[in-house]
Symmetry: C2
Subunit: 476 residues, 2 copies
């Protein structure tokens, strides 16, 4: 064959580096370039750890258990309560503020997270100005810990302080509870780092009016099952992360009759309903609490490679696995590619931020994007991209969630249960819809877009998992 | 060529009757069978009338005018009022009941329409039992006329009597008004021919509580623009005919704060909200009034072949064109193919019934079915069928409605403005989503499905249109 090989036109399949393919084409040959990269993006030890965990019967059995617990979860909104009354860490007047993502020190925090912390200090009355608040925090007068360490989640900066009302969501299948703060709406809001008087005033209104009125309505309705509501919204064009138009309307439909009956003034009832109806993102925080409750139900299964949390603090992206307990596996957070508001660009943006990636961890958000073609107007891309994201996530998940079906895929169930091994093996990164905050405190939201979780988190997690099953190559 | 023709294997394209193709294949040939049938389904005079109107400049110009008026229409829900107070034909205590579809005499009406008429007679107190009502109607004691003759529309039997509250929808672009009754919910309801005491009692509650409370709320909100609400619902999985889940929720979100403030008791406000929230089809009747207002704005343009009404009385299907005034072109209504409730089949069904085909006339319903993949669970078929229906309607329409976009088709605008000429020419029939009533009075709904308008209506309409432009072959 050798003599003819260099006489006839070459027809080649090239796997991996495109440079070889380009050379062949330049020399007059024909070449199909197949995209491929080594597992763990070439991290040699990660590759060995992967080999030790892949198809390991203990990991597979643990994953089946974790996924079954996740699928069985039944998150119900049962109450609204001040953070200090439901988060044990805030009991006894402790000056604790919790934030999004994995742990991070004050000095390392990104601009919007620092701005939000200071706004919360003023809200709590621990300082009477933002400047005074900054001095208090800098001298260590306030404890700062992740929301996730307290069973809670918060979008963007994710700041929760003791007086803030939280949604209390209970997984009726297992009894675990999860918490999330209230969505403030768009514009200058604490979660995007704004902390002016109008921001603090709005937070006070939420605590004084919206929260107790909603609490009273919940006492009448006896709780709101969130999974069927999310399922219906996903059949109505939401992915319940960055698009919550249907879910918010369905929530209103569910609770409005009870709101009329509550033992509050008409002004309170009207103000509460108008506040919810005025914010198409209102349901996001309920979706997050529901997803946290579902993911927590899958946590703590020894040897499971199922991802139970993905969260960003604006500097680092952190991942937790079911089989590695409360440990975080971190890597620098990616920037967010998307649609920026006029006058802003990616140069102005904070890195990927917030606990809201708990929705993708639970198989909605970017994973269910095929359900929400209209979201491309907010995060960029085309409806075909949205479908493609949902299909691609099937390559890195343990199964599907029969509760959440995607109309655009003939009602196929959405992919769920990220398997860290598959992420490392296939080089497909979890897709995440996200809001984009300005990197400086006080500016607020400047866009929304699509980003992905960094590979290094998953490689580190798989190494730890390999270590746990007695692998020789895994790192502790 | 002749000698080889019968020696080699035949490869044939067959146009029209499939029987020829079958013979060729049976004889060992290869054949592609192209579906085709002559215009007007072979009606010779219809074909000539079509030839005279097709590409006629007067018709094309008139259609452009009619479509532009339709697109410009801005239907707004401005009030709720008793039929007797807004329909001049019911003034002065006249015993008039209006019904769906083209005109039909009592003796010819289908079972569910007769049942609904009798229920309305009892509701009005013109008789104290259904039997007495029947005697009254049989001796001509009640006038029966089409809703459409009074600017109104009603789903299924479409019965409106003087005391019934109507939605008052005004097209703010042209000032014309349209009316529709309230949706009663599912189960045993008047529009499906049920007329027992519980049916009449529910109608009384609607008139006594729901209607005045909603009217008071509307007085506070200053009217609800229906087109943006429909547009948003169509981006949320509704086609605003047989699926109104999103539209109903969006309406609640829009009016609930005002409902809390109305000068009515809390019981009335709660009952009203609960009534609306308890019926995912509530918005259907508002959609119909909005569509009627839009279609009426396109009516009365001389020589226009644009369809401005399609309506069924359970026996005949009737069509009106913009260029032929208030004349109906009728043909026997088709049966409805769909999903039947357990225990029922097409043998139990009344023929296609109701004014709700005004939604398809306005380019939503079956025409926008690509927007509503979930509707196939209600009317049968697959999400692909839904997309196919929307695409096929492009063959018989004058243009698209930029207000109504279909996410599954990358936000392409929905086809709108049925051109009777194109229906006759292409043999593509307007697709209609529909509820299915039992053919006997008193049973109610037995399913839902998809049907089509009969060709003969459009052929007759085109003949009349040809006559109007001086055609020699058109029939008056």
């Amino acid at each position: 064959m050798a003599p003819t090989l260099f006489k006839e036109t070459l027809t080649v399949v090239n796997v991996g580096l495109r440079g070889f393919a380009d050379d062949i084409v330049a020399a007059g040959g024909r070449c199909v370039a197949l995209e491929w990269q080594p597992p763990a993006q070439g991290d040699r030890e990660g590759g060995w750890a992967l080999a030790e965990t892949l198809a390991h019967p203990d990991v597979d059995a643990a994953n089946a258990t974790a996924l079954a617990r996740f699928i069985a979860a039944n998150p119900v909104l049962i109450d609204v309560s001040a953070a200090r009354d439901v988060l044990p860490g805030m009991a006894g007047g402790r000056r604790l503020i919790v934030h999004a993502g994995p742990p991070i020190a004050w000095a390392e925090m990104c601009g919007p997270m620092q701005g939000a912390v200071l706004g919360a200090v003023v809200l709590e009355g621990w300082a009477d100005s933002v400047d005074a608040a900054e001095r208090l925090v800098e001298r260590g007068g306030v404890d700062l810990e992740p929301c996730h360490h307290h069973g809670a989640v918060g979008p963007m900066a994710g700041i929760i302080s003791p007086s803030m009302p939280l949604f209390v969501v209970e997984n009726k299948a297992a009894g675990n509870r999860a918490y999330c703060n209230f969505n403030e709406g768009l514009g200058k809001v604490l979660r995007f780092g704004a902390n002016g008087p109008e921001v603090v005033a709005r937070l006070r209104t939420i605590a004084a009016t919206v929260a107790p009125t909603l609490r009273a309505a919940l006492a009448r309705t006896g709780g709101v099952e969130l999974k069927p509501l999310m399922a219906q919204a996903i059949n109505m064009g939401d992915e319940v992360h960055n698009r919550n138009v249907a879910a918010t309307a369905l929530l209103i439909k569910r609770i409005a009759p009870a709101l009329i009956d509550v033992d509050r003034t008409r002004d309170d009832a009207r103000a509460t309903l108008a506040f919810i109806a005025g914010n198409d993102h209102f349901f996001l925080n309920l979706s997050m609490a529901a997803c946290k409750a579902m993911c927590d139900s899958a946590a703590g299964v020894a040897h499971s490679s199922m991802v139970t949390a993905m969260a960003r603090n604006g500097v680092n992206f952190g991942v937790r696995l079911s089989g590695t307990g409360e440990r975080w596996f971190e890597a620098p957070a990616n920037p967010v590619d998307g649609l920026y508001f006029p006058g802003y660009s990616i140069a102005d943006a904070a890195a990927d931020l917030g606990d809201s990636a708990i929705t993708e961890t639970a198989g909605v958000g970017g994973f269910a994007m095929a359900a929400a073609p209209a979201i491309v107007k907010f995060v960029g891309g085309t409806p075909s991209d949205a479908v493609h994201h949902s299909l691609r996530m099937r390559a890195i998940t343990l199964g599907v969630n029969p509760s959440f079906t995607l109309p655009a895929l003939d009602f196929a169930a959405a992919a769920v249960g990220i398997d860290a091994r598959k992420v490392v093996d296939n080089g497909v990164l979890p897709v995440i819809n996200s809001g984009i905050a300005h990197r400086q405190a006080g500016v607020g939201q400047i866009g929304a877009g699509v980003t992905s979780a960094p590979m290094a988190c998953f490689t580190a997690a798989v190494k730890a998992l390999a270590h746990g099953i007695g692998g020789k190559r895994g790192a502790s």
